[in-house]
């Protein structure tokens, strides 16, 4: 599938120190990453592989993340935006969520942080297959 612009957004959550993040595509996809998917500020964008992004998001748009266990919305967004090489590093609270969960979330079996090359998460392994 041809490249489409993929975008990451951050929204302030009233009463919490971290931003909620979500992702969109210029083809009309909205990936709520567990929460809202409208409003806020654009914090990253790049052309990306839309087929890969949709696959990585999964049917439930959670990208394989179990919220609060293996990651939060930052990690969900990062997994989807892997398709365009961007992360939501501009979101408030990102530094701490990465400390806890890593940029791409934790592997539920080992609780080690996932990485696209060193420790790819299951959805990435499946979605990268030709």
């Amino acid at each position: 599938m041809s490249n489409q612009l993929l975008k990451g957004y951050a929204i302030a959550i009233p009463g919490l120190p971290a931003d909620h993040t979500y992702a969109l595509s210029d083809a009309g996809d909205r990936w709520p990453c567990g929460g809202r998917c409208a409003g806020g500020a654009l914090i990253c964008q790049a052309p990306g592989n839309l087929r890969l992004a949709r696959c990585l998001a999964g049917a439930d748009n959670q990208a394989g993340i179990v919220y609060s266990v293996t990651g939060v919305c930052h990690q969900i967004a990062n997994r989807i935006l892997y398709a365009c090489g961007q992360t939501v590093c501009g979101a408030r609270g990102y530094g701490w969520s990465v400390f806890v969960y890593g940029p791409y979330g934790l592997d539920a079996a080992s609780f080690k942080s996932c990485h696209p090359v060193r420790r790819p998460w299951r959805q990435l392994q499946m979605c990268r297959r030709p």
């Binding site: 959550i13 609060s68 939060v72 806890v100 539920a108 609780f111």
Partner: protein, 99 residues
Amino acid sequence: MMDAEFKEMAKATLGAGFDEDKLEQIQALQTELRASLASLYKQLSLGSLAKADYLNLNSEAQRITALRCEAVLGADGFIKLFGIPAAEAGRVIDPALAA
């Protein structure tokens, strides 16, 4: 081993000359925190911990770890590295999304 990405972020925000010993202490706290979270998740999975209790204990473990990181880095160093005050670090989980 500390995430390579986190180490790069740490050096980028704190400067290349940052005390490596302190980074190693932060690394140890990260390892300890993740072990705690793994234990909590195991209890949740086995049904021996209610979801609400899991969330409270998860947040508390993060808060305590953050305070210990702050003791290593100093208050300013913590905010410079993590972008939020240590006292707020246990509140990055949105209860509305975790329910």
